[in-house]
Amino acid sequence: MTRVATDIGGTFTDLVALDGNGKLITLKSHTTPPNFENGVLNVIEESGLPANEIEMFLHGTTTIINALTERSGAKTALITTKGFRDILEIARCNRPDLFNLVFAKPRPFVPRYLRLEVTERVATDGSIVTELVEDDVLQCVEALKKEGVESIAICFINSYINDKHEMRALEIVKAAWPEVFVTASAEVTREWREYERTSTVVLNSYVMPIASSYLDRLDAGLQADGIFGRKYVMQSNGGSTTFELARRTPINLLESGPVAGVLGSAILGGMIGEENIISMDIGGTTAKCSLIDKGQANITTEYRIERTERYAGYPVMVPVIDIVEIGNGGGSIAHVDAAGSLRVGPNSAGAKPGPVAYGLGGTEPTTTDACLVTGRLSGEYFDNPVDLDLIRAAIEEKIAKPLGISCEQAALDIIRVAESNMVNALKLISVRRGYDPREFVMVAHGGGGPMHSAALARDLMAHRVIVPNSAAVFSAWGMLMTDIRHDWIRTHICPLETTPAAEINAIWSELKTKADERMHAEGLGDNEIQYQAVVDMRYQGQEHTVPVMTVDNWEDDTGLGLVESFHQRHEHFYTFRLDGTPVEIVNFHLIALGILDKPELAKIPVLEGEEITPIGERKVLYEDGIWRDTPVYFRPDLKAGFSAAGPLLVDEKTATTVVLPGQELMVDEYGNLIIETGVKRHESSK
């Protein structure tokens, strides 16, 4: 039986499949906007996989994030507590662009006239201050019908602690107007902070109709092609869910593609005995990095779409694997700024016209072009004949001349600047969060990961790089290995040491009831479900919380037992501990995993004394300014157990791996390339 994962990217739709014999099939086909499902159906057809053998279909999609960034979602309204309809537009009032007097803050997804108020109020302890006036809700429905609204979000103050009014309002809306799409904030998140929660539920309602129609069309297309196996879609929390459940809270699908790459890195690490991993995904326009600590990807609910250093963006308070993304990829444009400094990115040449190398009319030199000039890349794997003279001329004119250096030096400097930008992003997720990179290995994927990671890992002081088999379609590979996952987070603040276990267990059991219900809806039996319990805690009086693993059934002394774990975790993240200061729980977080069986990966043939010869040689310019004749291996020729000293290159159709002078390459039994960077491994002292 076969399982298939497809991942839609900006340019390509990737497919990775494992057939019944453990054979891995990878394929890329063009992405087909606006009907993205066609690209998915095409790539499956091109793979030649028999439809009736596909027992499981997993999918990552950019439909949701596109609908948000293109503002192509539904006409959406908000119903909220009296006195608070402006919360969505007031936001948090910060000015990240400190000195810009004409700074523009994010515009709300719901205009003021579609933000309506109802009389009701819940207090901070969950008690009812003012009963919900149900007639107000009905009046809202009437008004919104007249306005031709397609989707409604409901968010009341303090509903995180008591959602009774919100859920009642939801019922009333559904009864009075069955056709409209509607979500209450409590269905999406039970964390406090009214602006962030309102923004989340509004964005969910905004994308609901589009998500629903997309999933319907995809489902219909798959069925028409005779694919009746189980179908799942990837969520930002690193787990998957059924199409049916995804329709209700599509905001959970936002980062489905990128997180699969991180998840894949964690799973690959598990297979080869590495649990501390930095996942580095370099694509055409961006580089995305994420850190995996002892096998666990970091989950955050502080995600914001469109956030930059100078713009607050829009909060989405659902669990998302924490990824730092910077505007540096293969297509990033190099330029010399007004002060005469060389910059690379964040502007990108995109897929069209793309780098000069694509021959589609691009005139701005990019990182890819620089890699060709310095010999790192070979033109022969491009779809078009590459005109090196044209590339040199672009670098000469735009970079070398203004800086008064040679074209080759300019190309090398472009790569160094791009890599230095990426190292800064890598430091953000590691050093700055209290992790020592020497305890980590880097998993390099995406089209550009294999090209740059040897240098990045060396500069970051990570000791080893792994370039997985199928690095260029690694997100889809990660999806293949996914489990079903749902998260429930509930803000309920209580002292850690003195709250009775019964009070705490009441919350866990409420969450578990919801979780069981959802997991059964996923078609899972009780023995297939695993739970993980996490509490977010802090010192009383502080704001920042630290997650600590626990159990979902507390004994009288469980809380006391967590105190020391909390102190240690806090010290790890924030460098200090406040012994004697009371600790309190802020959030209860229950993770439900539906474990899907994992396919066995096929191993590659083992080297048995035979010689593997390079397919050729390229002259490569290295950072010390020296051109070296560098042997080029062809990846499909390599066998398990092969090793060689750098400098060397490994070409495959979709990527080139660079191994620097002084570094060492090995190939493992799964065909992963392993580069020892020359940095001494540092064992974790904790």
Binding site: G83, A91, K105, N424, G541
Partner: protein
């Protein structure tokens, strides 16, 4: 130096130095136990060369733009370069020498030595939780001299050749209400400086002393060049404006604010001659505070996104007569110095707006409306203190409406406290958080200020707050109308009174009382009659303006019976 550095290496050294300043900023944020540091980001970290010239700086708020330079220079001036040695560290919060702002903001200065030579300074400055003074929170709206505002640390050597001065530590601890927190702030600040020092020494080791020194010179040089390039694009000449500071603190009324701005190819001069004298209310700033303000407005006008360094700031000159409001001397109080610092920036914008309409927006609500509500919680018997700035309306620009609800110019990456967090932490209920509907009319409309209502749910509480622009609203320009003022109204629970004031000091409140913070709407830009009718109709639909305002301010007439646009009446009204 004989050999010129190649551009890439130079860039790499520069970026590594800036990264060290960033890392110091981050480290302090991560290690601080003080919410004002790690939540409100009310601190700054920077590096200077051996002469105290700023090389790079990271900020959360804009107020500290001058803090790094002048704190380092104050140490150099007081002790002399030859008397600094490895292992020294200095503390200062003296507003009248280098530190510049109110006493809660403490700067730490660490000289960095490489092979025995003083090569740089690492400096950071941030808002400590507690430094003593008349009330909890260490700032007040009714002080009359600096001695009421807390402990003064006048450029003192807290580490002497690596030896910590325990006596000074004991003095600090003895003068603060929460000594552990305050010393925690000191230790975190010190640790961040040490991190920066080791990064800097690594950079010297990696690239060599001469190359790094050359890069420092290059950064300053380059900053100066960029400044001159940008100044070339600026309008030249002399520009005037005046305004009035009107907080009513200690019953001080209407202080005149005057500026003469002179811009040439290589200078940016602000002359505040004619501004009122310092007053016995905490609304003065020292000359160093004024220099910080000048940098804010220079940066905003000249080039908002150029990296901060003293080369870039070198064209700035500030003239503030002795003992004027912007050059207050000891013992004039400075606790709420954000108010004078803000208006000294704003009056420059007012002067420059007509000449630089693309970069300057109309006036904004301009006040921090710093707020303290505190008391003893009935339920726990422990003190509670809500301390927060309010956000308000910003002015319209040449092609956009003003922003609704943003923090003022001396704040920055500063967040308002969520209603739900506020209600959980303090015995208060927020009864509304909404737009204040009144703002400046214009072709582009001023942004809306905010209304935030706090109901007291405790038997006792005290209100301390200060708003400026309570009589004189934000200015409109190019034909746009003025915005609306800031005010704080206290509604007594028994219905006996509803009093509106600009400044409240330790005002007692009881259960059921309601405090309403109203922040001003921004000024408008351009003739309101030129605002497209569709935009006016959209504003009516969104209830951002009333039908009456549409008619009066914008000449857009809505037929009362049909609720439709009366095109003929509108045409006539707009003639």
């Amino acid at each position: 130096m004989t050999k010129k550095l190649d551009p890439f290496t130079r860039e790499n050294i520069s970026q590594s130095l800036l990264a060290a300043a960033d890392e110091m900023f981050y480290t302090w944020g991560r290690t601080s136990q003080s919410t004002i540091i790690y939540e409100v980001l009310d601190y700054a970290c920077g590096l200077t060369d051996a002469e105290g010239h700023l090389i790079g700086q990271a900020n959360g708020a804009t107020m500290f733009l001058g803090a790094i330079t002048f704190s380092a220079k104050a140490v150099l001036e007081k002790f002399g370069k030859e008397n600094l040695k490895p292992g020294d560290m200095f503390l200062t919060n003296d507003p009248y020498t280098g530190s510049g702002t109110h006493l809660c903001d403490v700067a730490a200065v660490l000289p960095i030595f490489y092979e025995g030579e003083l090569v740089m300074f690492a400096v950071n400055k941030g808002h400590w939780n507690e430094i003593g003074g008349t009330n909890l929170g260490s700032w007040a709206t009714d002080t009359k001299e600096i001695f009421q505002e807390g402990l003064i640390l006048p450029d003192i050597r807290i580490y002497d050749g690596g030896v910590f001065n325990e006596s000074v530590k004991d003095i600090i601890a003895a003068n603060c209400r929460t000594p552990e927190m305050t010393l925690g702030d000191l230790y975190a600040q010190t640790a961040a400086l040490k991190t920066a020092e080791s990064r800097i020494l690594e950079i010297f080791d990696k690239y060599g002393r001469d190359n790094v020194i050359e890069s420092l010179e290059y950064i300053l040089d380059n900053g100066r060049k960029l400044a001159l390039l940008e100044l070339q694009k600026m309008p030249k000449g002399t520009f005037y404006a005046e305004d009035i500071l009107d907080t009513n603190s200690n019953n001080v009324e209407d202080i005149p604010i005057k500026v003469k701005v002179t811009i040439t190819d290589d200078t940016f001069e602000l002359d505040y001659t004619g501004t009122g004298d310092a007053v016995f209310a905490p609304i003065n700033c020292s000359y160093y505070g004024a220099l910080s303000g000048a940098r804010i407005v220079y940066q905003a006008l000249v080039s908002p996104h150029t990296a901060a360094n003293d080369g870039f700031y070198s064209p700035i000159k500030v003239i503030a007569p002795e003992n004027c409001l912007f050059n207050a001397k000891k013992p004039y109080p400075v606790s709420c110095d954000w108010e004078p610092i803000q208006i000294l920036t704003d009056v420059v914008l007012k002067a420059m707006a007509p000449a630089m309409p693309e970069r300057v927006a109309a006036g904004h609500f301009l006040s921090i409306v710093g707020t303290i509500i505190g008391g003893i919680d009935d339920k726990t018997g422990s003190p509670f203190v809500l301390s927060e700035p309010q956000a308000g309306g910003w002015g319209a620009g040449y092609n956009k409406d003003g922003e609704n609800g943003l923090v003022a110019i001396c704040d920055g990456e500063t967040y308002v406290i969520p209603v739900e967090v506020c209600e959980f932490r303090y015995p208060l209920r927020v009864e509304q958080f909404a737009f204040n509907p009144v703002s400046g009319a214009g072709e582009y409309r001023g942004g809306k200020g905010l209304i935030r209502d706090y109901r007291v749910l405790n038997s006792n509480a005290e209100l301390t707050t200060m708003a400026s622009r309570y009589k004189y609203p934000p200015w409109g320009f190019a034909g746009g109308k003025d915005g609306s003022p800031n005010a704080v109204t206290l509604f007594k629970a028994d219905g006996s009174s509803a009093e509106t004031r600009a400044t409240w000091s330790h005002e007692p409140m009881v259960e059921g009382d309601l405090v309403r913070f109203i922040t001003g709407g921004g000024g408008g830009y351009g003739d309101p009659l030129k605002r497209p009718v569709e935009s006016v109709l959209r504003d009516i639909r969104d209830e951002m303006i009333t039908i009456e305002e549409a008619r009066q301010d914008y000449g857009v007439v809505i037929d009362e019976e049909s609720g439709e646009l009366d095109e003929e009446a509108t045409r006539l009204a707009r003639q």
